[in-house]
């Protein structure tokens, strides 16, 4: 029982990271009908921005704000440089452009900062707390807390605010939204900014656990992408549930069946969903979008 509780906590913690990145995938997919394969690199870039800001002598909280502002700027540049010029083309050129952008981002960071993996300290001086038989890593606690807050924020933002409703309208029918006076390009710009910030937030939160390296983005993004499909492409709640499920399944699978095949369990679940329920837990039919 003690073992199961410890695994459950860790699984939820790592799953929350997948969920945060998956959320970015979903928001961009809803707004533009394309998958942004650079979403994982957003996490990596933000973690490096954070390291640079901390090394420059900024207090941790200020470095955090600077990193997120940097990500907002990257969201603007990404929208204008990658999506906007191809917005009238089919989804395929845009997807290929995002793959190209992800390679460019990874190699740009490599060229500017070098290949050295970096250590980013966590928010708290105490690495964790022991609650009965379970050790609660403070960084995972923070990640879980932030994910819960973001779920609540997303619900409020998209359901209760005018801007959120405009974003939803744009994602559902761009032409109709435009006829209603909504600036579609502005809404898509906001979506890219928000997704970049979300991806960045995931990167900054997970960096003290996984270290800051060029590969960290792609490692997380692959699982987050699987989580997005499992949860249902285009569904915010699906991304969260998909991410958490994936984290828990792979952690329990590793502990009770086989450690070396840990990644295999995640992708087995993905394959099962693609075969038996391709629209995911909550999602719409992927085939119709694609």
């Amino acid at each position: 029982m003690d073992l199961a509780l410890q695994l459950l906590f860790t699984g939820i913690g790592i799953g929350a990271v997948y969920a945060l990145v998956a959320l970015g995938f979903v928001l961009i997919f809803r707004a533009t009908n394309v998958v942004n394969f650079a979403q994982g690199e957003f996490s990596m870039v933000a973690a490096y921005l954070m390291v640079v800001a901390v090394e420059a002598g900024l207090p941790y909280w200020a470095a955090f704000i600077v990193a997120l502002l940097g990500m907002a700027l990257l969201g603007v540049i990404f929208n204008l440089g990658v999506y906007y010029p191809l917005r009238h083309r089919t989804y395929l050129p845009v997807i290929i452009a995002t793959i190209g952008a992800s390679i460019l981002l990874a190699n740009s960071v490599l060229a500017i900062y070098g290949p050295q993996p970096q250590v980013l300290e966590g928010w708290f001086e105490t690495p964790g707390i022991q609650v009965g038989p379970v050790y609660l890593d403070s960084q995972y606690l923070l990640i879980i807390g932030v994910t819960i807050c973001l779920v609540i924020f997303n619900f409020w933002f998209f359901e209760k605010t005018l801007l959120g409703k405009k974003l939803q309208a744009t994602s559902q029918d761009k032409e109709m939204a435009s006829l209603l006076g909504i600036s579609v390009s502005t809404m898509i710009m906001i979506t890219f900014i928000y997704s970049a910030v979300l991806g960045g937030l995931a990167g900054i939160l997970v960096a003290p656990v996984l270290f800051v390296s060029i590969q960290m983005g792609s490692t997380i993004a692959l699982k987050a992408f699987a989580a997005t499909i499992i949860g249902g492409f285009g569904d915010v709640a699906g991304a969260i549930i998909g991410g958490l499920s994936l984290g828990v399944i792979e952690t329990f699978g590793a502990a009770y069946i086989s450690v070396p095949y840990k990644d295999g369990f995640a992708f087995l679940v993905l394959i099962a969903f693609l075969i038996f329920r391709p629209q995911g837990i909550f999602g719409e039919r992927v085939a119709e979008k694609a």
Binding site: Q6, L7, T10, P115, Q116, P117, Y135, T219, A254, P260
Partner: protein, 381 residues
């Protein structure tokens, strides 16, 4: 002036032949080229940078001392991207340059396995740092190892843990790649020989993001000592932190990656008081100390095995070519295999007929982040 048909034909012929003649003259007269596959990008890019620096430092010293066959040595580096397909591509690019006389392969056994068939086809000496014992025992006569292999590291880890630390309940943790699997097998075999078969033999996949299940398995196994073979420092760093966080404080004797500069930086205090078998330990010999000084002066970073093996590889290859008096691969091979009592940064080289140059390991301890040499264990078999 009238251009005749004959003048025109001669001009065309000269125009076609000139680049080849110039290139050939340049190749004959310029430098002795050595190719190097190194991880310039990918997860091992940082250690790859150290490897290239070690090789360049050695070549500078060789050139200052008269060069190779009286010519200056030149290093041609190709990025292996820290992947198997990457090193196959990198090696094929280098192999296509016929004037390259010898090569440096990888420190990663799995990459050396990937490139080995092409090495056989090419038939030129390739110095390697991969420690899977099979690499020099699978009939490939062109691989020369500049690090001790894992049949030695397994025996040293087992010997030190069982005899010196007096621990008999072992958990063996290893990567599931070629290096980790071979290392884990070697350690398990050595432990069985000492009458202490492991209570847990646990593999893991490279680039894991979480080791909680592994740590809990170690905890549940009741092991009183841990032996490990980690391929990547990121994995080692994450595991070390989680091991300590989850309250496991048993002694830990690891393969050389446990004392790598990158691992020490990432894991920090989580690796304090651990032991490692290290092919490079600065205080283990005069040759190691000399390399340590050269490297620190030039790179301003503490040396480790990532740079020491390439430093030695260049020196051994240069000495082999110089002793052979030619770049003919078969003669260079014979000359390398004849090298005995060569004092390198990693220790004393005595090549056997399989191509293994080193036959022992150092035991070191992480004393609050400082790597302290304990003893060297040499084998004669």
């Amino acid at each position: 002036m009238r251009l005749t048909r004959r003048d025109f034909a001669a001009g065309i012929a000269a125009g076609i032949a000139a680049p080849y003649l110039i290139k050939s003259a340049h190749a004959q007269g310029a430098t002795i080229k050595i190719g190097m596959c190194a991880p310039v990008t990918g997860p091992a890019a940082e250690s790859g940078g150290y490897a290239v620096k070690g090789a360049r430092l050695a070549l500078e010293a060789v050139n200052k001392a008269g060069g190779i066959l009286g010519k200056q040595g030149e290093l041609i580096v190709e990025d292996d991207q820290t992947t198997n397909p990457g090193i196959v591509l990198a090696f094929s690019k280098l192999a296509a340059q016929s004037d390259i006389v010898g090569f440096l392969g990888s420190i990663r056994s799995t990459q050396v396995h990937a490139m080995a068939p092409d090495v056989t086809k090419l038939g030129k000496p390739v110095m390697i740092g991969g420690t899977d014992p099979n690499l020099t025992h699978m009939g490939n006569q062109w691989l020369f190892r500049c690090r001790p292999n894992d049949s030695y590291s397994g025996r040293v880890i087992a010997e030190y843990g069982v005899t010196t630390l007096a621990k008999k309940k072992w958990a063996v943790l290893h990567s599931t790649d070629a290096f980790g699997t071979a290392g884990g097998k070697a350690l398990t075999a050595a432990l069985e020989k000492l009458g202490a078969p492991p209570v847990l033999d646990q593999g893991y996949a490279n680039q894991s993001q979480d080791f909680t299940p592994v740590v809990l398995a170690i905890k549940q196994s009741g092991a009183d000592i841990l032996g490990s073979y980690f391929t990547f420092e990121n994995d080692l760093g994450i595991f070390a932190r989680q091991l300590r966080q989850l309250g496991v404080s048993i002694p830990w004797v690891g393969s050389p990656s446990i004392v790598n500069i990158t691992a020490l930086k990432l894991a920090g205090p989580a690796l304090y008081n651990t032991y490692g078998v290290a092919d490079y330990a600065e205080d283990s010999s005069a040759g190691s100390q000399a390399f340590g000084k050269i490297y620190r002066d030039a790179v301003k970073v503490a040396p480790d095995n990532q740079s020491s093996w390439t430093f030695d590889a260049i020196n051994v290859l240069a000495q082999g070519i110089n002793k052979a008096g030619t770049t003919d691969p078969a003669k260079v091979r014979e000359a390398i295999l004849a090298i005995k009592k060569f004092a390198g940064a990693e220790g004393e080289y005595n090549f056997d007929q399989n191509g293994d140059g080193l036959h022992g390991y150092n035991i070191v301890k992480n004393d609050k982040g400082k790597i302290v040499f304990d003893k060297h264990i040499e084998f004669n078999d």
